[in-house]
Subunit: 436 residues, 4 copies
């Protein structure tokens, strides 16, 4: 019996259901840590398929979650999730922002294969134009300010497709499958909390995938990614003292002036001789009135580095700049970590392995370059680095399909053939790694 | 016949009406350039009293108005004014933010005596606590975000009281009376547009008055003020170009960085050897997202100087800093004048004259010091300087009454005996200057 | 017997000797803490006149001296002083930079009258042009880079004239006379060390004087000065770590960058609402080569304030800026106090007293204004404030005479009639205060 | 006949003469544009060997020379050269800083092979310690502040060795040989002036070489270099206006403040997304005295980039920062180009060619890696890029020999076997390219 062919056929068969799930997730888009409806439905479906299911605090380490919204926002999101049809059994565990889900399939002794699917939406208002398919076909986001503009609706749906197909070929496998549905990838907020909980400690092979536009050479799959920048995201608040700018400027403690000193000196952090570094202060909001010494200044900033070491260098320097700028103008400063990623490198031999399976067993076309550079940052890096640190292998796969627009835009959309392809690659490789 | 005694009695008699008007203005508080209801009622009452009335573009030079709100805001304010009982005849002229009113009383040959009453509210939310009199007695502002927290409701009402009393003693006067009701004093936005229209060019004597807390020596009146700082208020917008902070920082034009460079260097403008200077950037809002090079930065700032010359020095230097900071980071900058005041000095001999009239004719107590320093800035300076520039005299009078709290606070209130006092001083002096 | 007349005559008689001494001091100009020849000759002459003489560490508190040159410079100056005719007995005590001298005349019970004469030259190269009198007449400075361009040669000589005349009228006095010859006034380095030694603690009346150009009204004397700015002078050294700017910029600790951050933020120290403040970084020297991260940066800076409080405010803020700028870029900073002055105010009634004595007893003309503003800073303020702090009185007198050029210029010279005038005022007042 | 063997033997034979020349050049070290003695002797020797010789303005384009010392320094250097034994015939042409020399050997039709030898010393004081060979053996630099601490004495000497050997095998060559002796490589000042004169326009193959320490694998030669950073070196002078910092700070134009604003913002130039960039202000000298607003500030700075494009980006941005910082504080700025290099890449196939010749024909050992990264900047890049721009090939060769210390240090020295190796590689390759 050719199990690969079974996988190919099953992937095709499960596609309509994936499309339907994907469009449902798209319509009820939920941003990081608020994926309560989404997570509860994933858990429900995994359980119904026969998976052992973890959800809530069993998945995410409470204090390792970054950039969690305020209690008020969490509460409102919970109510919305319930009102929009969250699964009543599982949604409870997500209260307070515990929206990770893990589905486990145990097939006796053997390797552990992990897969990561990110599930959160972006803070974008979806286009309502007729030429935007989700709008025309009625599954555009109904949640204002939340939109799946990065394809994570597809990532989540493909994870359920993988779950369904693996369950079908279960008898041919030995070892353990872990399907990790991660919240809060945008802003690099969620992966670390799952890693800290220990879920990657026994994983021998790890995959992740991301929607990526068509390849010039028509390939379906690029097995690996590399070179994403390690990054930290910080929210920074300077606090000083208000005073009348005309009458008693010397009585103020000027938080806006401290922030300005910080900004210039942050950008002036020396380049690192060993590779690229980045720094950005993307937002700055300070002061209350023209004639008042500003008593507060808030900044959203980030640092990046080619390597984790370079990122640490910039981050340490940045903190020194922030603290010194505050001290300089007699203010205080609070620095809050809002997100983090490490640098990411797929294993070369593992990429070659994926390429071989895709080409020889699954009839897919692999791009000429087996790995491409990731411009930004991805927190799957936390998972991959943990797996690699104990000798495991992994790859962040780029699955190609047509995209209407670049990610994060209001009319972003992707060709749903993506879903089928992911199921083929992930299940094909899982079988190859776990076959008896 | 003792006309001074007539004035004293009339001031007392007109007080209940002034109190009623003041509370009405207080309830329907309107901020700068939006005083459409207020202005229309003032015009109505002046006309009913027999004054020649100017309103709308006849009062304020269109392009000399500073800090005028957007068309949208103006339109909404107009509709609100109409719905809150604006005078149907006069409100039309105020459309688009022409909310100055002048009442003229011509009594043949003789000197021209001008008086200025400012009529705008502040952008403050009034307290609703029971211990705040306007709240308890039902005349707290019904317009959210607008409150007479600086006493201009009283200034406006006192102007109508003065109008009523002067009309009663009209036959004893020769010359011309000009009662100037000025919009937009807060932010120093309105006076200049009236001066530019030429209304101060023939004024020989000018008064203005401001509510001021009780004097230590129990005086009712301090005839003069001096030493207010000349000032300019600017809104500044830097514009650059957005780019991804991780992938292509070099493609951005960083408006936030330009603003930060500007801020530090603005505060670093060298002190002036001849007197005090001030600079403040009170608000700064920049950028759209953490990982995007900020393409816009907005600042509210101001400069001040002991003298008009020092103010000009700081202003010129500040503009150079703003333009250079923009150029430095390849951005553009727009600098918009939002308000202005000159330095202000009451004429010493005129203050003595007021003191003499108050003490000897009106039975009022004058404080020991005939003039006190004005900490902030006042745009009556534009009027006073124009009058002084052609040989006229003037004073900015401080009329004392109990205040509950310092100005600009949410529970600010003043003792309405203020109204009676102003009528006595202004009418007494007008008579003294214009008596046949 | 009219002692005032005796003083007038004696002042005239002692003038040729003062001129001669002044020209000798002028020729052998010595800058701050190097006045070894000058001090030794002053001590010699005081002793020969019959004064009790203090010199060396008995006058200046070692650690309270500021801006003392290096041991090498001190050593060379000592050798030069010896070779240029220093008094062999007294010069020894000046070794190492102890160049203050005090002459004491005890006349039994009574008030203590102190007088301060500053004796140091400036770091200026004297003009050799024929139209410069000292050059033409052969007493221009022979010490390159040292010139009496501020009249302290005259101040020193006048102190010896005062000493001679007071000794003549000794029998008419009761109390104690203290003639204080102070080193290092330039840079505000010397006064504090004498105050710290306690020499002003028992002084009831204090005079100082300074050469000042002719008055518009032809007056000889302006009894008082006020309003000099309190000041601190600092030498600042940032230390970091060198690294190759191309290969490993991240390994450097950039002292030049730290200094630049400090400079901008120093100038940005908020104005003080209560009066004038000043800040200046006058020199900055940093780095060793174009392609090396600078490991050292040296700055000469100063702060000033209308009052001692304002000066302290600016100084404290400046230190915070310096330390924070260093910390920001991982450098260290050393801040060395090089000079200091307090704000200075002559006692009004004492000025009136001086005016009366000058006019009524000494036949001198006093200027209409009894006190004039001092633009810069003067460390006689330390002495005056100490005297005033225990209830004493004092004045910093401006004695008028023609000047060729403003002070600190290469052709500065003053009319030596100054010397006679000082003797008259100081001895006249001393007699008036100490007469039996 | 085996010409390669002839070359090997001749290289050996010419070594003692090269050692002698190298030590002579070492003893009379001359820095950039002052290599008058050195150049005249090179010209003499080339002519004596039979080469056509170009020198003076025939070699270097006058206005394309960068960082030329002042006339005063040039004049003194000329006099020194003459007094230290410069060749009387050729030295004349070097007057004013025209110290390039080209030797041409024409062998009929065929390719043109160029070789570049840099000849200038560094501004370093040579060690006089006994353990420093040149000091012990009496050929340490006699010119204070000038030392061959980068091996260019060897480069120059090896060029003369190459000249001698090529002349011996002349009959076996067809085409043209150009031996280019370049002044002012340190500071990247000289190459461009030779390129601008057109001397590289007809060159088909270009070599340069540099002394490099022993390879880990014992190789004699690394055929290529790559990745040197493109760079510009600037001297920057800000000019403002002095004023008294206490009395009239507003009258100054603060050049030190302008420079500080420039420094911070220079370091804050955004990173380039496409590769490494560098910026450094290595020296800053500003101001004349503590209490004077600084009227001048001088900076030595440089920018670099992975590619010529990135370097241009940083340079353009830097100029904008400098000009804007000057304008901001009402100063002027002068920016003077003092040196420049482009990015450099040896041709891969040409490196393989060199490797083959060295290994197979010359019996030399080539390092495993055929090209190594150049950390800094090299202005041979100008020549190489010109040659490559018209289809020529080239390589910057690293010839290995023991070094006592890293370059630019006071005890730098290299094993003179270097000389022999260069002659072998250069002559071997020339023969291979030009053989009939």
């Amino acid at each position: 019996m050719n199990v690969y062919q079974t996988i190919i056929d099953a992937a095709q068969a499960v596609t309509p259901e994936m499309v339907s799930v994907r469009r449902d997730f798209h319509k009820y888009a939920e941003t990081g840590w608020l994926e309560m409806r989404t997570a509860s439905i994933i858990a429900r479906k995994l359980k119904d398929l026969g998976y052992e299911v973890l959800i809530g605090e069993d998945v995410c380490e409470r204090d390792a979650r970054m950039g969690v919204p305020s209690d008020e926002v969490l509460k409102a999101a919970y109510e919305r999730a319930v009102s929009q049809g969250a699964d009543p059994e599982f949604v409870k565990a997500t209260e307070g922002g515990f929206t990770g889900v893990i589905g486990i399939l145990r097939c006796g002794e053997g390797p552990t294969v992990g897969m990561r699917f990110d599930i959160d939406a972006l803070g974008v208002n979806e286009s309502t134009d007729e030429d935007h398919l989700p709008a025309r076909d009625g599954y555009a986001s109904v949640n204002a300010g939340s939109m799946h503009a990065c394809g994570h609706d597809g990532h989540a749906a493909s994870g359920l497709g993988v779950a369904a197909v693996l369950m079908q070929i279960k008898e041919h496998l030995h070892g353990t499958v872990k399907l990790i549905f991660q919240p809060g990838e945008e802003g690099l907020r969620g992966a670390k909390s799952i890693v800290e909980k220990g879920h990657l400690d026994d994983v021998d092979y790890l995959f992740g995938a991301h929607t990526t536009g068509e390849a010039a050479d028509g390939g379906d799959v690029t097995p690996g990614s590399y070179g994403s920048l390690a990054s930290y995201k910080y929210d920074v608040t300077f606090r000083g003292l208000a005073a009348h700018a005309g009458g008693s400027p010397h009585l103020g403690k000027n938080a806006l002036l401290a922030a300005a000193a910080a900004v210039t000196n942050l950008y002036a952090i020396p380049r690192h001789g060993a590779g690229a570094s980045r720094i950005n202060v993307g937002r700055l909001i300070a002061g209350s009135g023209r004639n008042v010494i500003a008593d507060e200044a808030f900044m959203e900033m980030e640092v990046r580095g080619d390597t984790t070491e370079i990122n640490e260098y910039v981050s340490d320097y940045a903190k020194r700049v922030l603290e010194s700028a505050a001290a300089m103008h007699d203010c205080t400063v609070e620095i809050k970590l809002m997100g983090a990623a490490q640098s990411l490198n797929s294993d070369e031999d593992f990429c070659e392995h994926i390429a071989a399976v895709c080409t020889e067993k699954l009839g897919m076309k692999v791009t000429e370059k087996l790995a491409i550079k990731l411009g930004g940052s991805e927190d799957v890096s936390y998972m991959l680095n943990r797996v690699q640190s104990h000798g495991g292998k992994g790859a962040f796969v780029r699955v190609r399909s047509k995209m209407t627009e670049s990610a994060h835009k209001r009319k972003f959309d992707f060709d749903e053939s993506y879903l089928t392809k992911v199921v083929k690659v992930f299940c094909g490789m899982t079988y190859d790694l776990m076959k008896k």
